[in-house]
Symmetry: C2
Subunit: 250 residues, 2 copies
DNA sequence: GGCGAATCTTGTCAACGGCAAGATATGGTC
DNA sequence: GACCATATCTTGCCGTTGACAAGATTCGCC
């Protein structure tokens, strides 16, 4: 049935995705060519198009696969915030190709239903873990609540509906329209209201930001020496340093 | 002198960079075409090559410009950690095109001297600001230091300046073999040693990670609802929530 | 055994990146 | 003012790529 030779490959779609991951790990997503992909898989130059439609379709499939894998990895991390963060960084390092594609939405159709679903699964896993936060420093309400937002008028108005803030593409992913960039179709400052940035929402955002930033900087090779060669452990140290209020020795 | 019409453009290099920024803001770096660039600037398709050599050269120039602008923005932020973080996020949002290129090293020659220098300037500005950290929670030494790993001497730290970790690349950025993906030739665990992740080094890393992660997630459109439409303010809330230990009202 | 549909191939086209060779303007020198 | 080395920009070309169309082969199913 699933022979790998002959006119019908058997599982060409999966094979192409695997080859794509390898190629991306070698040279990055930008350098990925559908024809080179077909060449490596031993099929004709037009074979990939049948399974993915176009280049964006290939990246879309990779993104879905990536968000699903991430959700799985986070679900299996144990529920502790610390382990969750380490799992996140670990995923980024181990599945570098997927991770790079996932957070480069101009490469794929970020608004596709399957992408949204997979991303939501990963997001849920993340939120669930952050909910177990031992007890975030519970920052006392800050002295000056806020200088009065007026300070940053620049980015304020822009598009109210938010969906097409960034690049207004048409229907192609890389063209504008795709870039969700929602985030803007929501109330002005959510920070002060219940569920705002001062509550659990803020915890999630802070935790996600720090692990995502660490992973991204690591992958980009932007981190200076002295971090060590084990990103997972380094991340653990950093997360602990920031998030865990007291040693709680017992 | 700098006439903009005629056989000689006057300042084509700058014009091309400006047009590139606009194009990238519209459709992302991946979609940028040298020919389209030339078309928009009203010059022949080979004109850009004279100034930048190739596509990677163009991105290299953008990266240098970006790191310089970032350094400038950070220097002008005032020295307070909070303002520094907000300035970082603000830069990412306002100079989206530059920021995206800067942290996508497979697009350009990340090991070029000018890039190293500009990146170092930005890094210095960042470190300088973090040094003013009011007094990071001053985490008491953590209970369990770490399961071990201290034994591995690993290869002595090669780049002390830490600028070229990521993709060593020969001279082209995107071809294979470029992606060093090394990360394995640095001292094993730097966390426990002086200057390790438990000291100021850790503060810098944590602060940088959180603002970088926030900015990246924002740009990728990955942030869920509730964040508001002003990334700078949202970042301020998140940073303060994590970093500032006590109100310190005085 | 046969047929519709899925899978894969071959052929083609416009666009791109990169290179080479030529055209045109600029600035300095006598 | 004439001259020339050089920087700047153009034209022309080649191999590769993404996308599409049309055809060939095989599979699932009745």
């Amino acid at each position: 049935m699933t022979g790998t030779r002959g006119y019908h490959h058997g599982d060409l779609r999966r094979a192409l995705l695997d080859v794509a991951v390898t190629a991306i790990e070698e040279s990055g997503p930008a350098a990925l060519s559908l024809r080179e992909l077909a060449r490596r898989a031993g099929v004709s130059h037009a074979a990939p198009a049948h399974h993915f439609g176009d280049r964006a379709g290939l990246f879309t499939a990779l993104a879905v696969q990536g968000f699903d894998s991430l959700a799985e990895a986070l679900d299996g991390a144990g529920g502790e915030l610390l382990d969750l963060g380490v799992a996140y960084v670990d995923f980024a390092v181990r599945h570098r190709a997927h991770f790079e594609v996932m957070f480069q939405p101009d490469l794929y159709r970020a608004d596709a239903a399957e992408v949204r679903a997979a991303r939501e699964r990963a997001g849920a896993a993340l939120r669930a873990g952050v909910a177990t936060l031992p007890a975030l420093p519970a920052q006392p309400t800050l002295p000056e609540s806020r200088p009065g937002t007026a300070a940053h008028p620049g980015t304020a108005d822009r598009s109210a509906d938010g969906a097409d803030r960034p690049r207004d593409a048409a229907d192609r992913p890389r063209d504008a329209a795709d870039r969700p960039r929602d985030a803007a179709d929501r109330p002005r400052d959510a920070a002060d209201r219940p569920g705002g940035l001062d509550g659990p929402q803020g915890d999630v955002l802070a935790a996600w930001s720090i692990v995502h930033g660490f992973a991204t900087l690591w992958l980009a090779g932007a981190l200076p020496a002295g971090v060590g060669d084990d990103p997972g452990e380094a991340a653990r140290t950093v997360i602990r340093r920031v998030f865990i209020p007291a040693p709680d020795p017992n």
